[in-house]
Each structure stands twice: as structure tokens, then as C-alpha cells.
């Protein structure tokens, strides 16, 4: 009994309504969600980047493969990059069979996440509408719907009448410059609270023994045996990382740094087919619930959803100029407002509360780069462009399998870095982005 009580003291409390009431009434405070251990000098694996991808990779390494001597390093705080800046949309209605299978698995993991991680991620499966304003777009929607159905993902093309029934606030008349001709309707799509996903993975990974180190910036990746200077580059292998808090030796480094992916890979002498562009998003003041589905328009470069709190969250296409600066621009808000009012003229009096930007690591084919590189022990989970958040869980699961088994699982084989050398690109631009 004493032993189990002792364990209970060290085991973090489970989250539940009963625990909330109990602790609230007794005046108990909640303990720290994850520990803040000393940085060791050696780990079995080091994950660079403490966002959804990095944390999920560490979590699945520990949960599925019993590899718990893992450190997740982040130069700022957990979820400070794309994981905290995305528009939190979840969907699987992609264009290629490889993409549909992959994002479909991620949707499954999001569905059971609240139970698996014991945290309320506020997953709202509210349906996802991709509007078509041209015959060409309608043709692509039909194509996507058929590929989705074959891959077991629920998608269908619907007309303006049905769209109006689902989202009455949309202008489905022929008044706008680009009238709505139809839409790809994807009922399993929805939104999720992105911070809760980050915290959920961090907390669950921490319970399993993984260490999270914030404000720990990787300054160099230490290699030996490679053809480049310092033993880096093709043919070499990873021996550790140099951080602002000292050197760490490790045989495995997993680069999960999204917008900064090129910089961290360059430290190991690996070049990537990636260019970093900022993507801006904005949020309005909260209003009563009126938008029951996620609405996307490729032609109008916008996607919009209403949070449970009532704010409208808008995202757009990436800024055209490559930069690491996340400064916003007034061109963005002007263009956004113009386009949104084409879709929903009724919200012209709503006020924007704020806008922000995140960094997107864009690849030429709008698909990620996952798995091995020419440097042994240096793995990448990058190229997440504008679609990384929705893929976080499945990426973590698959990357953990890569580390544990030393093989690339079938699900992510199409996304290997070597595809750029063989020319087998996975073109997802038509389904992964707006503004094309």
C-alpha cells in the first residue's frame, strides 16, 4: 500500500472531471505537467524540435518501441513554431493514394487522441468543404473524391444547394466574381486545439521517461567519416549534437524543425529540397456560432473555421518571398478581407483581433521529406510546408518505427529524400495548398 501511494506521488494525476472537482474542492494545486530534468551528456536518440512532430516521435519511440532514453531539444519553448501558429485544421482528402493513406492514418490517431493521451484536445469533427469556383477546380475535386473513396476516406462532390444547407452564411449565388460551383465535402475533417496536442504529447512522453529540454538550441551536428569537412556529409555518421548547453553524444538525431529544417540539416552536411516561406494567419473577435464547417477556397487563397470560442480563424497561401522573418503585412489582411467577403458578405462588420505568421518548409511537390539521409543516424521529418500539423501524430508514429527498426515503413516510403534523385515526386499541390 505504502509503495503504491509512493508511486502515486510520483505519477502525475490523470485528467478527469472527477479529478478536477476533487482537486478544486480540496484546494490542491496541479503539479508541473512535465519535468525539467538536467541535460545529460548522452542519449539513445535526440529529437531536434519540440513541436507536434518532435514530441510525437519521442512519444511513439517510448510507447511503441520502449526507447525511452530520448531527449527532445527546442531552442525556444515547446510548440513555439508551427505547432502553435497553424490554423488547426485536420483532414485526409488529399490527391495522391500515398497522401490519402498517410493523412487518413493521422485522422485516425487524432480521433482517439483524447483517450490515448488523457487530455482534452477538443477535436471537433465538423466537416470540411473545399469550394470550387471553376470547372478545372471541380474536376480536381471529383478526382480527389474518387481517390479518397478508394483509400477509404469519406469524401464526395456536392453542389451549391447542399453547400448552402451545410453553411448558410456562404454566398452561393452568381453575384460574386468567382461564384461557387460545387465543393469537395469531407465529413471527417475538423479542427482541434493545437496547443493541447503539443501539451498532450509532451505530458505523455514525459510519463514514459522522455526528457524535454527547452531553450536548448542545437548549434552543430557532430559527425564522423563523411566526405565533407568535419566528417559531415554523405557516407558519414552522426556522433552527437553541440548545443548552447554543452555537447551531447547520440547515435541518432531526428530533425523535426520544419521552417528551420534546412539550417539543421546543413549542420550534418545534408542539403534539402526546401525553401522557407512565411504563412500568415489571422483571427477575428469571437461571435456566436454560425460557421458549422471548415471552409476552404483555393481560388480565393483562404481557409476559415470558427473556434469553439467563436473566433474566425483565417489562413492563406504562403507569402511569395522566401524569408525567416515572421513579420506580418497589410497586403495580407487587405487581400484576405476582400476574399473572405466574397464568400461571406455578412461578416463585413467583424473586426480582426490579430494576425501572425509561421515558417513553412516548402518542398517542390508539396509532400514531406521523411526518413533516412545520406548521413547514417541523421533522420529527417521535414518539408511540412502548410500541412504539417494535421500530420503530426502519424509522422511521429512512422518516424519512431524508422528509428526502432532501421527500415522505412511502407506508409512513408513515397516521401523519402531519395525521390528527388529518382524523380518520383508525390505531387500534392492541388490538394495541400491554396493559391495555385
Amino acid at each position: 500500500m505504502a509503495r503504491s501511494l509512493g508511486q502515486l506521488r510520483h505519477r502525475p494525476p490523470r485528467y478527469s472531471a472527477a479529478a478536477l472537482a476533487w482537486r478544486g474542492l480540496r484546494g490542491h494545486t496541479w503539479p508541473r505537467v512535465w519535468r525539467d530534468p538536467e541535460l545529460k551528456t548522452s542519449y539513445d536518440a535526440v529529437v531536434v524540435g519540440g513541436g507536434v512532430h518532435g514530441l510525437a516521435t519521442a512519444y511513439y519511440l517510448a510507447r511503441n518501441h520502449d526507447i525511452t532514453d530520448v531527449a527532445v531539444l527546442d531552442k525556444a519553448y515547446l510548440g513555439s513554431g508551427g505547432s502553435g501558429r497553424n490554423t488547426a485544421i485536420i483532414r485526409a482528402n488529399y490527391l495522391t493514394p500515398a497522401g490519402v493513406a498517410f493523412y487518413g492514418r493521422s485522422l485516425q490517431l487524432y480521433n482517439s487522441m483524447a483517450v490515448d493521451l488523457n487530455i482534452n484536445v477538443m477535436f471537433s469533427e465538423r466537416g470540411h468543404l473545399t469550394l470550387a469556383h471553376t470547372d478545372g477546380a471541380l474536376r480536381t475535386m471529383r478526382w480527389r473524391a474518387e481517390v479518397n473513396k478508394l483509400g477509404g476516406v469519406d469524401s464526395s462532390v456536392i453542389g451549391p444547394g447542399e453547400i448552402k444547407k451545410i453553411v448558410p452564411s456562404l454566398d452561393t449565388s452568381d453575384r460574386p466574381r468567382y461564384p461557387i460551383l460545387g465543393a469537395l465535402y469531407h465529413p471527417p475533417g475538423g479542427i482541434v486545439r493545437h496547443d493541447a496536442v503539443v501539451w498532450g504529447y509532451a505530458r505523455a512522453a514525459d510519463h514514459l521517461g522522455v526528457e524535454m529540454h527547452q531553450r536548448t538550441e542545437v548549434l552543430d551536428v557532430l559527425c564522423s567519416g563523411g566526405e565533407g569537412p568535419g566528417g559531415k556529409g554523405a557516407g558519414g555518421r552522426v556522433t552527437g549534437v553541440r548545443t548552447n548547453r554543452g555537447d551531447i553524444s547520440t547515435p541518432v538525431v531526428i530533425n523535426c524543425t520544419a521552417g528551420w529544417a534546412s539550417l539543421v540539416s546543413a549542420m550534418a552536411g545534408v542539403r534539402l529540397p526546401i525553401v522557407t516561406h512565411p504563412l500568415q494567419a489571422a483571427v477575428t473577435e469571437p461571435v456566436k456560432m454560425f460557421l458549422p464547417a471548415v471552409v476552404v477556397s483555393g481560388s480565393l487563397h483562404v481557409y476559415v473555421s470558427q473556434t469553439s470560442r467563436g473566433e474566425l480563424v483565417f489562413g492563406a497561401s504562403v507569402d511569395p518571398v522566401a524569408t525567416y522573418s515572421v513579420r506580418g503585412s497589410s497586403e495580407f489582411t487587405e487581400e484576405l478581407a476582400g476574399h473572405v467577403l466574397q464568400l461571406m458578405p455578412g461578416i463585413s462588420q467583424m473586426r480582426l483581433l490579430r494576425q501572425w505568421a509561421g515558417l513553412c518548409d516548402m518542398t517542390p511537390d508539396y509532400s514531406p521529406v521523411m526518413g533516412f539521409t545520406p548521413v547514417e543516424g541523421f533522420l529527417v521529418d521535414v518539408g511540412w510546408g502548410t500541412y504539417g500539423f494535421k500530420a503530426g501524430p502519424v509522422s511521429g508514429e512512422q518516424m519512431a518505427e524508422v528509428v526502432a527498426t532501421g527500415r522505412t515503413p511502407e506508409l512513408i516510403e513515397p516521401f523519402a529524400l531519395s525521390r528527388f534523385n529518382t524523380g518520383n515526386l508525390v505531387g500534392e499541390k492541388g490538394a495541400a495548398a491554396v493559391g495555385h
Partner: protein
Amino acid sequence: MLLVPCPNCGPRNSADLRYGGESHARPDPATASPHEWRAYLYLRHNPAGWLRETWYCRSGCRRWFALERNTATNEFRDPPLPGDKRGGAA
């Protein structure tokens, strides 16, 4: 807003130009190996610092030119002047 120093038209909003991306030498298609050619097509340095890149002044002089910009701060360095060889060597 990014003010781009066009060598012919002076400072202009980046929305008036088309961004051409990282400027790098094209290998000779006759002699390049498939590996070299694909590296030229796809691989990028993508530095967080000074980068030589190309721009097209689409609503001004309608010329391509190369500039150096710091991708972390968005400052331009030493913009070329009209007639400057560097300006035409995109």
C-alpha cells in the same frame, strides 16, 4: 511590405515584382549527370542570412535581375545600378 531596390525603377513594393528564388549556376545540360541536374532543380541552400536571389520587375521595367538580401532581416545589400553587369546576370 518589402521594398525591393529595382536597379531600373528604384524601390518598389515586392508585390510589384515576381520572386525568382535562389540564384545559382545552371549546369551544362549536355554534360551534367542526372544527379547534378536534379540537385540543380531541387536542392536549395535556404540560408538564414545573406542570399543572392533573382527578381522579375513585372509591373515596372520587366527585367530580371539579381540582388543580395538577408533572409533573416530582409535588408538588401549593395543593390546594383542600371547598366551594372551584376544586375543583368540573374
